[in-house]
Symmetry: C2
Subunit: 336 residues, 2 copies
Amino acid sequence: MTAQRASVKDVALLAGVSVGTVSNVLNRPESVTEKTRAKVEHAMAQLNFHRNASARQLRAGVSRTVGVIVMDVGNPYYTELARGIEDRLAADDHTLILCSSDDDPRREARFLRLLAEQGVRGVLVTPMATTLERLGDLRRLGIPSVLMDSSSRHHTSVGVDHVSGGRQAITHLLRQGHRRILFVAGPADLQQTRHRLRGAIEAIQADGLDPADVLQVVNLTNLTANDGQRALATVLDSGRPAPTAVFAINDIVALGVMRELRLRGLSIPRDVAVVGYDDLYFAAELMTPLSSVRQPMRQLGWAAADLLLTDHPHSLFEPELIVRASSTGTDDPPTR
Amino acid sequence: MTAQRASVKDVALLAGVSVGTVSNVLNRPESVTEKTRAKVEHAMAQLNFHRNASARQLRAGVSRTVGVIVMDVGNPYYTELARGIEDRLAADDHTLILCSSDDDPRREARFLRLLAEQGVRGVLVTPMATTLERLGDLRRLGIPSVLMDSSSRHHTSVGVDHVSGGRQAITHLLRQGHRRILFVAGPADLQQTRHRLRGAIEAIQADGLDPADVLQVVNLTNLTANDGQRALATVLDSGRPAPTAVFAINDIVALGVMRELRLRGLSIPRDVAVVGYDDLYFAAELMTPLSSVRQPMRQLGWAAADLLLTDHPHSLFEPELIVRASSTGTDDPPTR
DNA sequence: ATGAAAGCGCTAACAT
DNA sequence: ATGTTAGCGCTTTCAT
């Protein structure tokens, strides 16, 4: 019905000024007379003017968009991270393109290429084992990147101390008397797996025990509830002595573990105790309230974006074990 | 260390061809000799060339990006929707910018402006009551939009039949003998609320009962677990006869409702039955497995994106009630 | 304080 | 099949 997109030229024409003045109203309003500014703004409103971000970016060379690649947007843990990023970005009038790598290097590579083409101001990524190689391209393009939920001496990053998290979880289980613990971990080359495993081993050694006796590790490729369930089933069917406690790499995997335990009529935590990771919002509401290691994801995201925007030194956050019925010595009380 | 972004000009220079040929390699590879194509592609690789999306879009006038605004990215229900969209978009080499309105009209307006500036190919949005007014601007700009999880005679949309969902949930509760049912709903002007309420009323009337006797409605502004918990507490403290069943607008609200019931020592479902909505992945694993109305979100997202890309007629999907312990006549077995 | 004009990287129409 | 060129909408000198 009415015209399509109006350009600065159209606005200038209608307001009876030059395009330069229109641009000034947009970018340096203080350098324009009150009167002409009013004229121009009126023309803009009348034409339903929206500045063209492509042209702006092409000319100015800088983008107001930041790319974010997380492992799995379906996991509330990562959306909470994204929320923190968004909070920080909005304060500087930037926006975020959210991508989900689904733990697939090819998907990640595709998004990285896409973001490079978009000319984003920077990329924030929760890395998998091979991510670092792919980030070289970006750096050569002059696009900075920040690793999240992971740390590296060779790359800027914001992270949570997973060694500490693993140590806290296993220490807790040892205190409850457990001596056969199963760690249902992620891929062996994933930093979260490696660090939490290290923390677990440290905790066991600190008690004068031999990790080889106490800890059994099974590595998952995907971190879904079904994978967790299958992994536990395999271990229980292996004929080896069953574990008395399970430490899961995240709460969703823990969900699957608990499902399998229930299926076999095993009591949680009397027969097998369970500790998860991430402390998702429903952890306390599960059939057996789940002990879990809580991480400050929102702050982490905020810090990551802040790092990108202002180059503040990065921070390492501290996780905190939340103990609930799934891992306490006695059977859990019906409610609380 | 090495050069920054290489342009088509740089590639042309290195390959010893013209920029037009480079563009052809990019956009019409079949119109280029095998040999020159190889030369050009080699030059691209050598220069780490990434085409500049801004310039491309500025010139071509069309974007390969679609804006998606959901109510709440923190809710897995919406990320599942986003996943469906992404699936469809990827097939046509498009990408998605994901925004969370957080049920805040100002945030939504801001994102809409942003997306318009980006010149996105279209916008997919899960609308709140006032969204439609805001979409007029976009239309005048020639940017199509699709409503998701909602329907409108005045706007293209893909949706789920919420009337049917409400009817299924309430019919189920009536069959269990409930005659005092509380509907913990969203905002009164939200379509999901209105349609599910209509379905509820239809179900009650179909049994020859008076909705005014059977159904009590409380409207929430925000749909968090805490809000659900508070709402139920208020109702139970009101002095009026307590409901024997609760129908919650979504599973997260249901989580809060169940929390409050447990806190008061009320048994689910013996004292109060609960039915949620969305059937989030953990619904079956809760302290009391939650009956819930499942919606095909992934397909919905797929359909929405398909509608935008190919203008296929839109579809109305059918929800399905999943019955679990939280609403079955007998007490649930004391699992844990 | 405002105007004129160049140019960002790309595509597409036209010329060869 | 390949080269030449105009121009998308904006910002930003440089003049006035």
